[in-house]
């Protein structure tokens, strides 16, 4: 079935470094991808999204890259700060029992040390 996976469940970086969080997806027909940040005890927070007709999209300190050839999505965080410590999820549109829906990966825990 369809699945959204992540290469690493945890990532540890030093404050000020750039972070790269990766996500592999399986549905080549997905037209939309999104990244969320979830801090402990809180709901997921929208970070950035990208449509399949784009390769790159930039936000404030974040960049999402989409490589459709190898079905790979990444989130780059520039100058990582302690406040960036959280679980990061990618999600893609896919088909499930509900029709078109967001299919979520299981998350990468980013730890930033100062």
């Amino acid at each position: 079935g369809e699945s959204v996976g992540l290469h690493l469940p945890t990532l540890s970086v030093q404050e000020g470094d750039n972070s790269i969080i990766n996500c592999a997806y399986s549905n080549s027909a997905s037209d939309y991808f999104i990244w969320y940040k979830q801090e402990s005890g809180k709901g997921p927070q929208f970070i950035i999204d990208i449509r399949s007709n784009m390769d790159k999209r930039q936000g404030q300190r974040v960049t999402v890259l989409l490589n459709k050839t190898v079905k790979h999505l990444s989130l780059q965080i520039a100058a990582t700060q302690p406040g960036d410590s959280a679980v990061y999820f990618c999600a893609e549109t896919g088909l499930n029992q509900a029709g078109t829906a967001l299919i979520f990966g299981k998350g990468t825990t980013l730890s930033v040390s100062s």
């Binding site: 939309y32 999104i34 969320y36 005890g41 809180k42 709901g43 997921p44 927070q45 929208f46 999204d49 999820f89 549109t93 499930n96 029992q97 509900a98 029709g99 078109t100 829906a101 967001l102 979520f104 990966g105 299981k106 998350g107």
Partner: protein
Amino acid sequence: DVKVTQSSRYLVKRTGEKVFLECVQDMDHENMFWYRQDPGLGLRLIYFSYDVKMKEKGDIPEGYSVSREKKERFSLILESASTNQTSMYLCASSLRGPYEQYFGPGTRLTVT
């Protein structure tokens, strides 16, 4: 900013009780969603609604029902709570389809 609120942050209920989880969004979004989040399983869609009084089953609707009487409010109902429904419940809303969903803070439900 989009704001999605949920009625309780923490809830403890007994097995067999009827449980209501409320969600309200203030951005006039058409679509609302209920998910549960469990360690190692990620977010799983329970039910969603694309309009008032409309509902659609997600991946795991068994043991749950929903109600959407007003556009801004989407309720999740556990008819008879069971211990395997202990989980974090997350509500989300979106303007169009499944795209760009905004989440509430979550309700951590414990069923004993």
